[in-house]
């Protein structure tokens, strides 16, 4: 998949053991570089488009129930399967529920699960990657084999192996996806750590007898942060992919709660009868969310490598 190398000249200048004044000065420079990058990011149209779409869905996730024209759970069998028209912009589903309301409210679960799962995976993966890259040797070898074994299987397959065992729930999804992402993120962080490992500031930290935990989290971590940030946004896109697929397969949020994947699963057989609006809008919602995250990812990558 995507291998991102750390940027060597990077934003976060090394916070070496050079005395407090020096550290403060370096930190100030780092902050200034951070500001410039932020401004560069805001000037990119792709970033802005992505951000607007993402903010829209976050808004729906938070206030979906308030802005939805109808109650997404209210059934009305008399107006079942009506095509998009004045009363129901996106039409109704086989139970007569308003599709637009279900799409708006359906943003909630995916936007709760995916960031939390990605954050969990990033924290665990970063820790594992730091340890693998810093210690190397036997630790790296054993962990490396484990990572390979997990990579041999498609994420969706591992996910439902564990979800079947643990039972589907929001928490299970977060934990399982977080754990699946751990080795993937660890691999990227490890690669980034390896490029840092032999640099002078680390040798001097080692010679000063700093303990490994402080070196890893205090010295290396700030320097591999750009790589981790990019990896986080890339994984966020994959998390959406995985969660949508799992809820389509019935391993996610359970009906009647509105959910894009689950709603597609419930209605895709209606496609052949011509009821395209029941699935197409949820599908496009997933697509727009994924695209938004990708536009943001791409912009961040461009700005960091500039």
């Amino acid at each position: 998949m995507t291998d991102i190398t750390a940027d060597p000249g990077g934003a976060a200048a090394p916070l070496g053991p050079l005395g407090p004044q020096m550290t403060v000065a370096v930190a100030a420079t780092a902050a200034r570089v951070g500001q410039t990058r932020w401004r560069l990011l805001l000037r990119r149209p792709t970033f802005l488009i992505g951000a607007v779409i993402l903010v829209f869905w976050v808004f729906c996730a938070l206030f979906g129930h308030q802005i939805a024209p109808d109650n997404p759970l209210a059934q009305n069998l008399l107006s079942a399967n009506t095509p998009p028209a004045g009363a129901h912009w996106f039409g109704t589903d086989p139970l007569g529920r308003d599709v637009l309301s279900r799409v708006l409210v359906g943003a909630r679960n995916i936007l709760i699960i995916t960031p939390l799962a990605t954050i969990l995976g990033t924290i665990l993966g970063t820790a594992l990657g730091l340890v693998m890259g810093y210690f190397g040797g036997a630790v790296d070898l054993v962990a490396g084999r484990l990572v390979e074994a997990v990579l041999a299987l498609p994420a969706v397959i591992i996910a439902f192996l564990f979800i079947v065992a643990l039972g589907p729930s929001v928490l299970t999804l977060i934990i399982v996806i977080g754990f699946i992402f751990t080795p993937l993120i660890a691999r990227t962080v490890r690669a980034a750590v390896l490029t840092e490992r032999n640099l002078d500031y680390l040798s001097s930290a080692r010679l000063l007898g700093e303990n490994p935990v402080r070196i890893m989290f205090g010295e290396i971590l700030p320097n591999v942060m750009p790589a981790i940030l990019v990896e986080f946004t890339v994984r966020l896109g994959y998390a959406i992919f995985t969660v949508a697929s799992l809820s389509f397969l019935g391993f996610g949020v359970q009906p009647p709660t509105p959910d894009w994947g689950a709603d597609i699963a419930a209605n895709y057989s209606g496609l052949l009868a011509g009821y395209w609006w029941q699935t197409l809008f949820a599908a496009l919602a997933i697509a727009s969310l994924v695209t938004a995250v990708n536009l943001i990812t791409d912009s961040i990558e461009q700005v960091l490598s500039a």
Binding site: M1, T2, T46, R145, L146, E148, A149, V150, L151, A152, L153, P154, A155, V156, I157, I158, F160, L161, F162, V164, A165, L166, G167, G237, Y238, I240, F241, A244, S245, F248, L249, G250, G261, I264, Y268, L271, L272, G274, W276, T279, L280, A283, L284, I286, A287, V290, T291, V293, N294, L295, T297, D298
Partner: protein, 307 residues
């Protein structure tokens, strides 16, 4: 490689063991007597200690015995076999379409690096790679199956259908896979091509006045495609087993669908055998890619003509 497979077998086996409830009860249903459940559990051997079960499962696998399905009460082997063949058919079709397309995209994007063409191919490729097949499948069905009515929307042509008809049925399910893989392959081909374009021997070729077309064909393509082989191999696991969603939507009896149904029915021997099969296919594909790289890269081999 063996180590990877062994760890994989451990993961698969122990994931299966944390399942709450006992298989005998799951098979016989809630109304069966306690006694018959116990007898069945003994027959299935699920009440033996964990280590014994693992050893007998692994021992069986090494002898080509994949286990007995809880649902069908027969060997899982024929089911896995049939599903694997179906999956390979679909995967092959997707590969045949996506590999040339991805390479073409990657090379075009490398040759126009930094310009609009390059950005469009890169961003579109990356976006398509993360749009779930779920979404693309639905859109494809709506457009080609329902509105235009040009292609069948189920993947199986049914028994007795000719090869051509079966092929037509596989086109629509293959497209979502093509869209997912295009970005990866294009990205690798782009990176490989850019590396070669910046190399000394390319500069020499330009300086000695080789026409651009000849240079691209003779020097750039040949060398830039090596990394692409690796990415193709790493996507095999996905193509063989990750198609649960596509196979479900298009109602195709591939191995992803088999695993999904086994998971729903809590048919653990089937599930374990299926997942492990995907792992083996992946490991074999990676090995094949390594061998192919050695065969294609003169620096990695000894003897043979260099052309």
């Amino acid at each position: 490689m063996i180590l990877t497979l062994w760890i994989l077998s451990l993961i698969v086996f122990f994931a299966g063991q944390i399942l709450p409830g006992d298989p005998g009860r799951a098979i016989l249903g809630p109304f069966a007597s306690k006694n018959s459940v116990q007898i069945l559990d003994t027959q299935l051997g699920v009440n033996r200690p964990l280590l014994t079960r693992y050893l007998s499962w692994i021992g069986g696998l090494l002898h080509g015995n994949f286990g007995t399905s809880y649902s069908y009460r027969t060997s899982v082997e024929p089911f896995i076999h049939a599903a694997l063949i179906n999956s390979i058919k679909l995967a092959l079709l997707a590969f045949v379409i996506v590999v040339p397309l991805g390479i073409l995209g990657g090379v075009i994007s490398a040759l126009s690096a930094g310009r609009a063409q390059d950005r469009i191919i890169s961003v579109a490729g990356l976006s398509l790679a993360t749009v779930p097949e779920l979404v693309t499948s639905i859109v494809l069905i709506v457009v080609f199956g329902v509105e235009l009515k040009v292609l069948p929307v189920t993947a199986s042509a049914g028994a007795g259908a000719g090869d051509l008809s079966q092929f037509r049925h596989l086109i629509l399910p293959a497209i979502p896979l093509v869209l997912v893989l295009f970005g990866y392959i294009a990205r690798m081909a782009r990176a490989g091509t850019i590396e070669v374009l910046n190399s000394d021997y390319t500069r020499t070729a330009v300086l000695k006045g080789l026409p651009r077309r000849t240079m691209i064909r003779r020097h750039v393509l040949r060398n830039s495609l090596l990394p692409t082989i690796t990415v193709i191999a790493t996507q095999t696991g996905y193509l063989i087993g990750g198609l649960v969603v596509v196979e479900t939507i298009f109602n195709y009896q591939g191995i992803g669908n088999l695993i999904y149904k086994a998971a729903e029915a809590k048919d653990f021997p089937m599930l374990e055998a299926g997942v492990l099969t995907i792992g083996v296919v992946y490991v074999l594909a990676t090995l094949a890619a390594d061998l192919l790289l050695i065969a294609l890269n003169p620096r990695l081999r000894t003897g043979g003509s260099g052309d």
